[in-house]
Symmetry: C2
Subunit: 117 residues, 2 copies
DNA sequence: CAGCATCCGCCGTGATACTG
DNA sequence: CAGTATCACGGCGGATGCTG
């Protein structure tokens, strides 16, 4: 039951909500492009999940797959512009995490300007 | 098994990943503050889920609950600064959704170039 | 109106093993 | 290396019904 398909926030959330999705996009953005690379970067992910996420992202047009029919099979995944457009969101989350979830957590009076000045 | 608790992105994602969480925060930001109001705005949400999300958000310090011990019970939920700090992320997702997912709220402005890159 | 209790089903995810 | 197949578990979220 998709909350509300006419809502851009929901749709983006749907794409991004997977446990590994954002991390995957981030790794891709940082240059990891091989399956085994990603597997190592995303510590703990199972090949199945990685494969699933990759495929989903591919179908969304967020990542592009390049296959090299070489002797040692090689496949590279790269972010499309649509995928790169996700980065600001990730950055926003990183910033939020740093400013509000880092040192002084929850239930605090919470200053208006945490780290920013 | 929490991906990586030392990663700000993951921590934010953990908070934000609930199906209704972001919408809830957004409704709160838009002025909905009563339980039944939220229930109506978030079409389809069950009271259970709403209650659960609200409580979780409260424990995170993202929303604050104000109880009015009146004859008709009244409770108001408001965003804390920590909750309001989530808004840019939501905006980012809305923008992304509009530009890349073809979900358009005709009433909203589109500050960037859609197919720029 | 506000909110909790219970039951249940779905989906994402994890673990492991196997294939091209 | 780059996946896929299978099995199973857990948590989130949905539906209903009840209480203060």
């Amino acid at each position: 039951m998709p909350v509300d398909e006419s809502c851009p926030v929901c749709r983006t959330a749907d794409i991004v909500c997977g446990k590994w999705t954002l991390l995957l996009v981030r790794e891709l953005a940082e240059g990891c492009s091989r399956f085994c690379e990603l597997e190592r970067s995303l510590t703990g992910i199972s090949p199945r999940t990685l494969s699933l996420r990759l495929r989903a992202l591919e179908e969304e047009g967020i990542v592009e797959r390049a296959t090299f029919p070489e002797v040692p099979p090689r496949v590279e995944y790269v972010l499309t512009p649509k995928g790169e457009a996700l980065l600001p969101i990730i950055e926003g989350m990183r910033t939020y995490g740093q400013e509000w979830l880092g040192a002084s957590c929850a239930s605090e009076p919470a200053p208006r300007e945490p780290v920013a000045a």
